[in-house]
Structure formats: C-alpha cells, structure tokens
C-alpha cells in the first residue's frame, strides 16, 4: 500500500510543476498497462491451471527426505516449469524442510521457482525476443544448479 502513497504523492508534485506533462505521463502509463493485458490474461489462466494441478501435497511427495539426486532433479524441474506467488512458495519451502525435505532439493525448487519459468518465458519473448528468453532462463537454471551445489556442500 506504500506504493499507492508514493505514486499519488509524486503525481500531485508532478501535477503542480507541470499539469500537461503529468497528463501525458498518465496516458503513457495507461497505454503500457493496456499493452500488457493481452500478455497477462492467458498467462494467468495458465498459472491458474498449474496451481490447481500442482498442489503442495504433490510437491511434498516429490521432494521427500530420501529423494536424493532424483529429488534434486525433480526439484529443479518442477520449480522451472511451475510458477507460484512467493507468499505461497516460501511457506511451502518451510513446510518441506520441517517435514524432513532435504535442503538442496528445497533450495533448487525455490530458486528455479523464482527465476526460471514459463511466466518469464512468455513475457520475455513478447518484450525482448525468443533468444533472450532462452538465454536468460538457461543461465538462471545453471545458476540454480550452482546454488544447489553450494547448499549441498554446506548442509549436506
């Protein structure tokens, strides 16, 4: 909600200094919002479907205590394919750890969840290019493997 305060405050300041420019900025903001919507709606539909199918129970069953190397691979893959809002993802991570999930698996899952994924892929293809989306997602995936490696060494 702080962001509403900041936005409204700055708009008022901006309007006092130059009302025409502010109107123009308002229009530009609205325009980029409208341009984003066609990307968003199908994406939300897709994420909605994913969240309905890939439930926390399902993920817990994949990343159990004894899941070992396969668990790491699964964690990285499931994290890459799916998307979850952070306020769902981190409590799930906590739950996984508490119910005996291993640290490297959970780390791999969380990191890929945040940085690799269809959500970014679709938006990135639209805004940059397919090449950009492929490169960034693969580099982030390699990064996630590094995270898993370090976590495995420290917590393993």
């Amino acid at each position: 909600m702080i962001i509403y305060g900041i936005a409204i405050g700055l708009t008022i300041v901006s309007a006092i200094i130059d009302i025409e420019k502010t109107k123009n900025g308002f229009k530009k903001g609205a325009k980029s919002f409208l341009k984003l919507m066609p990307v968003l709606i199908p994406l939300f539909l897709f994420v909605g479907i994913l969240l309905a199918v890939v439930t926390p129970e399902f993920i817990s069953s994949l990343l159990g205590e004894e899941s070992g190397f396969i668990g790491i691979v699964l964690g990285l893959s499931v994290g890459s394919i799916t998307f979850m809002p952070p306020f769902v993802a981190f409590p799930l991570g906590k739950e996984l750890l508490e119910s005996g999930g291993a640290y490297p698996q959970v780390a791999g899952f969380l990191v890929t969840l945040m940085s690799v994924g269809i959500v970014y892929f679709a938006a990135e293809t639209k805004f940059f290019s397919k090449k950009s989306a492929i490169i960034r997602n693969s580099v982030s995936f390699i990064g996630a493997i590094i995270v898993v490696g370090v976590v495995a060494v420290i917590y393993g």
């Binding site: 702080i2 962001i3 936005a7 700055l10 708009t11 901006s14 502010t22 123009n24 900025g25 308002f26 530009k28 903001g29 325009k31 980029s32 919002f33 341009k35 984003l36 968003l40 709606i41 199908p42 994406l43 939300f44 539909l45 897709f46 994420v47 909605g48 479907i49 969240l51 309905a52 809002p85 952070p86 981190f90 409590p91 991570g93 906590k94 640290y103 780390a107 969380l110 990191v111 945040m114 940085s115 959500v119 970014y120 938006a123 805004f127 940059f128 290019s129 090449k131 950009s132 490169i135 960034r136 580099v139 982030s140 390699i142 990064g143 995270v147 370090v150 976590v151 420290i154 917590y155």
Partner: protein, 178 residues
C-alpha cells in the same frame, strides 16, 4: 484462424487444458478459474500505481540522464542502480517488464536492464524479509547471496551473446511497446 492460434498459443493451450480438465474432474476446472480470478484481482490491486510511476518516469526523466546513469559506459554505478531499483520494488515480476521497456527505450544498457529484471524477480526486499521469516536467516541468505552473484555474471554474459544489431532491435521493440 491459424494466425490467431499462432499469435495466441498460450491462450489456446490454456483453453485446451481447461477443456480436458473439465472431462477429468470438473472441480479442478473450478479451482483453476478461481486461481486465475484471484491472481487477476491481486494484479489489479497492486499494478495501477506502478503504471502511474512508469508513466511519470517516462515524461520526466530524459534520455541523457538514463544514458549517463545506466547506459553503455555507466559501469558499476549502473549495475548498482539497477540493483536498488529492483530490490526496492513491489509488485509481481510481470509489472517489471514495462518499466524495463522504458529504461531500454531511454538508452539503458541491456545488461543493466536484465540485471534489474532478475533482481526484481527474486531479490525484492519485501520478499527477502518474508523468505527470512520462513526459511531462517542463514538458509535464505545463502540462497540470495549466491543468486546475486549468479545474476551479475548472467547479465554480463548474456549481453555478450548478442550482436550489436540485435541489441538495437531490443531498443526499437521497446520503443513500440511502451
């Protein structure tokens, strides 16, 4: 028809999946639509001020300033600024893209914009705090510090993989989209 499908691959795939789900288990379809609706609602609540700020940024900050602060020769300063903009942000990653477009349009360096997007997606401060409360300080920080290092390297490496004209194409596309 084919053109429509190709242009809206995501929508068509999603609708197909929904149709299949309805046959398998109709409650899944309801859950999926509910999820979609609540995300859309969240989005509509958080996003308007972000776009207001993007619009203001567009009219008030001129190209020279952006080039100086985040352009080709902005060096470590540009990266630091990209980090702060990404870390002190709010809102879903998807809202970061339009802002990234405005930056690119105004001459920010591709690696900086990419770094900004990556920081926004996983190292936003509100999320980091939440992460610490859930996962504990040491585990959360370990993940975040390595990610930060990876992002810096990733941004610089990905930029190297493009030709000059490809980078210019990004800027042109950004011009059209914002």
């Amino acid at each position: 028809m084919m053109k429509f499908i190709r242009k809206n691959k995501f929508l068509v795939i999603s609708l197909l999946l929904l149709a299949i789900m309805t046959f398998v288990d109709v409650t899944l379809t309801y859950t999926a639509l509910e999820n979609t609706g609540s995300q859309l609602l969240d989005m509509l609540l958080i996003v308007p001020p972000i776009f207001l700020l993007i619009g203001l940024f567009d009219v008030w900050v001129d190209r020279e300033t952006v080039i100086r602060l985040m352009g080709q020769s902005s060096g470590i300063k540009g990266m630091a600024l990209a980090f702060f903009l990404g870390a002190f942000s709010a809102g879903p990653t998807i809202a970061a893209f339009p802002l990234a477009m405005v930056m690119l349009k105004k001459g920010a360096r591709y690696s900086n914009v990419l770094f900004f997007l990556m920081v926004w997606s996983s190292l936003k401060l509100p999320i980091v705090f939440f992460q610490v409360t859930q996962l504990g300080f040491s585990f959360a920080m370990l993940i975040n510090v390595i990610m930060l290092a990876v992002f810096i390297v990733a941004a610089l490496i990905s930029e190297k993989l493009y030709t000059k004209s490809e980078l210019e194409a990004f800027e042109k596309k950004a011009e059209e989209l914002s």
